[in-house]
């Protein structure tokens, strides 16, 4: 069962919720960090050296100039403007290339072959009973979705919690696809609400079931609670705006370890998720 934790606005508490759900599980659980641009789940667990490291590559075209006749079929085909016909020396912009393989297929002279271009790494850590699978994009690489898809391939069966990237664009869609349930973490502010609305549109467009957790919840909330009520979106839990939570976070201490009185909140949330997912 795959439960994704996403948001809309960044910094609302996705990783906090993901980590503490994993700790509250007290059973074998797989925690997957799909925020490959800036993975941070490992900061809250006892993760020193990965048990396993796998380099992930994307196929990238290389042109044999002696075979190329400058017909520019490759350049006409490329949807990403990554290969530009320049006489008989097509110029490839590696950072634009999405590794679709189209140019290599379409070249009438067979002048294009593909080589592996490294984009990042997948590290697996053990902090029993939690297994952390972390994707980390190489610095300078702009394309997250292929790495995210590779990370998700490492998921085996059992309870899986997926920490998504912030926002609603391609990396988030790649993360949320084919999950069983999405927890949207938000905060009761204008930005929190604005971006939650976008995230709700996204999960609805993906046909995924979802619920909301309000972090830094206030007594009066003229933003999120009225919206959830109007849209009939389930409110799964509210984490209070407790300064001690931020203090624990700042030193890399998981919430339910620093403040055990919050453990029942996460246990209840996990039980609820296991029921609806």
């Amino acid at each position: 069962m795959k439960i994704a934790i996403a948001s809309g606005k960044g910094g609302t508490g996705k990783t906090t919720v993901a980590i503490n759900l994993a700790l509250a599980a007290q059973q074998e659980v797989c925690l997957v960090d799909c925020d490959v641009d800036a993975p941070n789940a490992h900061l809250f667990l006892a993760c020193k050296t990965p048990r396993n490291s796998r380099v992930v590559t994307l196929p990238m075209p290389v042109v044999d100039e002696s075979l190329c006749d400058g017909c520019s079929a490759c350049s006409d085909f490329c949807a990403f403007n990554a290969i530009v016909s320049f006489g008989t020396v097509p110029v490839i912009a590696p950072d634009m290339c999405h590794g679709c393989g189209g140019c290599a297929r379409i070249c009438p002279r067979g002048a294009i072959r593909e080589v592996a271009r490294r984009i990042g790494v997948i590290d697996t850590y053990d902090d029993a009973p939690i297994t952390l699978i972390q994707g980390r994009l190489d610095i300078g690489v702009a394309l997250a979705p292929p790495l995210i898809r590779a990370v998700k391939q490492e998921i085996t069966t059992g309870l899986t919690l997926i920490d998504a990237p912030p926002g609603t664009s391609c990396p988030v869609v790649a993360t949320l696809r084919d999950t069983d349930f999405v927890v949207l973490v938000t905060e009761p502010t204008p930005f929190g609400l604005n971006d939650l609305v976008l995230a709700v549109e996204t999960v609805r467009a993906l046909g995924l079931r979802f619920g909301v957790v309000i972090n830094r919840a206030q007594e009066t909330d003229s933003y999120v609670r009225p919206y959830l009520s109007h849209e009939k979106i389930p409110l799964l839990a509210e984490i209070p705006d407790d300064r001690r939570i931020a203090q624990a976070y700042a030193v890399g201490m998981p919430l339910i370890k620093a403040l055990p009185e919050y453990a029942p909140l996460f246990s209840r949330l996990l039980t609820q998720l296991c029921e609806v997912a």
């Binding site: 990403f80 403007n81 110029v91």
Partner: protein, 113 residues
């Protein structure tokens, strides 16, 4: 010598477009036959990424050895340097004016994207 200009319109009286990759049109002029102007529609003006690369490709295909524009982005710049196209900058004038300035050598080089 074939000269390309990034333009807002289809004639030499049109204002020069200060951006290369996002220009609506490229005007191709042969300095040996200054009366003939070829107009290239920029099909990639609204592409998310790499518009400059496609623009460079289009003017290279037309045989341009000189480009007159306001500025061009890093990808187009790299490609055009590789192709040894000479780059000149001109702003706030018509394509015709820019050509005249080019002819008497008063246009500055573009040295960086």
């Amino acid at each position: 010598m074939i000269i390309a200009l990034s333009s807002t319109g289809k004639t030499l009286d049109s204002a020069l477009n200060p951006r290369f990759g996002r220009a609506a049109f490229f005007l191709i002029v042969n300095s040996d036959q200054p009366e003939t102007v070829t107009v290239i529609d920029n099909a990639h003006a609204t592409d998310g990424h790499g518009a400059g690369l496609k623009a460079a490709e289009a003017i290279l295909k037309a045989g341009a050895r000189v480009l007159i524009t306001g500025a061009c982005g890093p990808k187009a710049f790299r490609l055009l340097q590789q192709a040894k196209v000479r780059l000149y900058t001109a702003t706030d004038m018509t394509a015709q004016k820019a050509l005249a300035h080019f002819e008497n050598g008063s246009l500055p080089d573009i040295t960086s994207p």
